[in-house]
């Protein structure tokens, strides 16, 4: 894949929040995980393992766990000014999550013990940016890109601590693992709007940080207000 092809792929990939119930060939799921397998990890520790959930009862139970998480999120989100609320948590949550029809959910698990692969200083001296979390991010980003390359949709569904505990119990995942994200995968039920991103020049500094590009805290809040306006459509299900 050349530079142009890759740029096309990253632009084409969208978070999909509603799926057709049509099954995804087993082969596709394996290919997606093959892409995840080749993601980067600190010292090549490769902490990730994947629980591929197809069974409809189990998927429904996962949906219930996430609904509880979303309900809590909704209550807390209402304490914000309306124009700053996250669109995904603004509406009251009733029933199953948007991804309920996705024929497969990939639960991304990270084995804490593999973290021994990195240099000891990582563990004794605090660093900004936990490599363990980053490894899981890398694998999950690759899952999304591979799904997009196959013409499938995927959604990055972050799991909080409580959802994580329930998922581990539901799926029999050993204590050694952490879960931060699950990825429903399937055929998109709608055509999403185009991706929005900040302009490249706003985020690139040459040789030194350019103060003229630095955002004040008030600027960041304005950015979020603007973001909400632009991305509202992405969160509505078609």
């Amino acid at each position: 894949m050349d530079a142009e092809g890759f740029l096309d792929l990253v632009k084409k990939r969208r978070n999909i929040r509603k799926f057709k119930p049509d099954p995804v060939p087993d082969e596709y799921v394996e290919i997606i995980l093959e892409a995840a397998r080749w993601s980067m990890s600190g010292a090549n520790g490769q902490p990730c393992e994947y629980v591929v959930v197809k069974d409809s009862d189990t998927r429904a139970k996962i949906g219930e766990i996430l609904t509880i998480q979303r309900q809590r999120a909704h209550i807390i989100e209402q304490t914000r000014l309306p124009e700053l609320r996250h669109p995904g948590a603004s509406r009251d949550v009733k029933g199953a999550p948007g991804f309920k029809d996705a024929p497969v959910i990939i639960v991304v698990c990270g084995d804490l013990r593999s973290y021994q692969a990195t240099v000891l200083t990582t563990h004794f001296y605090p660093s900004e940016g936990d490599t363990f979390h980053m490894n899981i991010g890398n694998a999950t980003q690759n899952i999304h890109l591979a799904a997009a390359a196959l013409g499938l949709g995927a959604q990055w569904v972050s799991t909080g601590l409580l959802a994580e505990e329930k998922l581990k119990r539901l799926l029999g995942i050993p204590e050694a693992f952490r879960i931060f994200v699950i990825v429903p995968v399937g055929y998109p039920a709608y055509k999403p709007p185009k991706s929005y991103r900040r302009e490249l020049r706003e985020m690139v500094h040459h040789d030194r940080y350019e103060p003229s590009k630095g955002r004040s805290s008030a600027d960041v809040i304005e950015f979020i207000k603007d973001l909400r306006q632009r991305t509202l459509k992405s969160y509505s299900r078609y």
Partner: protein, 245 residues
């Protein structure tokens, strides 16, 4: 088909630790950064900013600073049994090699953008995993974009003491966090093929398959084997490539 091309790309991408001094054309660099900004982030917060360092004296200073921090890491790493030590630490050359890279991309994250995510994330999640994962996403894509452009790149993690010095050197505001430095350029050698655990070992269907669960001892075995297999990747010898006239 696009998926085969993408799979080819993820397998071909290698961490490169020695570079030619040849500069990277601006257009290529822009294209790589352009791809990176389409990385995923929670609530589309896009916390990332990039300080693209080309000035030779700055790149030398960054490599020297890293070398300093490495002494500490080396000291601690030597408290491990030899067969478990991280291969990169023992090598005195590795950060000196970094100087050769014609460009270093310093990946910064603005934690204030994290206000974009749901408030509950901050109260009940217990940690800001998403913030770190966002920075990972952009860095992974940076590496893939570089590989697609025929460039090499390396993931150099930044620790706190180093972050402080880097902020002073590059005038990066205190509020920003620095996660990773990505030296980038044309590889000066052909890297060994990538290795990974077998796919079957890491996939479970409908529930976790306990027969695949590695004991703590097995994890250490994995580590020992990993060190043996990846030693050459960290200590790349220059392979002279024939020049075509």
């Amino acid at each position: 088909m696009q998926i085969n091309d993408f799979l080819g790309l993820v397998k071909k991408r290698r961490s490169i630790r020695r570079f030619k001094t040849d500069p990277v054309p601006d257009s290529q660099l822009q294209a790589v950064l352009d791809a990176a900004r389409f990385a995923m982030s929670g609530a589309n917060a896009q916390p990332w900013e990039f300080v693209v360092v080309k000035k030779p004296e700055l790149r030398t200073k960054i490599a020297d600073l890293l070398d300093e921090c490495k002494k500490e890491a080396n000291l601690i790493e030597m408290t491990r049994l030899p067969e478990l030590r991280h291969p990169g630490i023992g090598n005195p050359q590795s950060y000196k090699n970094m100087k050769e890279a014609p460009v270093m991309i310093v990946v910064c994250g603005d934690p204030r953008t994290f206000q974009a995510t749901m408030l509950s994330t901050h109260f009940t999640s217990g940690e800001s995993a998403t913030f770190f994962m966002n920075l990972a996403n952009v860095t992974q894509i940076l590496h893939l974009a570089a590989a697609a452009a025929g460039l090499g790149a390396q993931w150099v993690s930044v620790t706190r003491p180093f972050e402080r010095s880097l902020k002073d050197l590059l005038g990066i505001p205190d509020i920003m966090r620095i996660y990773v430095i990505v030296p980038m350029g044309y590889p000066s050698y052909k890297p060994s093929p990538s290795i990974r655990r077998e796919l079957t070992e890491m996939i479970h269907y409908d529930g976790y398959d306990l027969s695949k669960f590695r004991s703590d001892e097995k994890i250490l075995d994995f580590l020992r084997e990993l060190r043996r297999k990846t030693h050459t990747a960290y200590n790349a010898k220059m392979i002279k490539t024939k020049r075509t006239s």
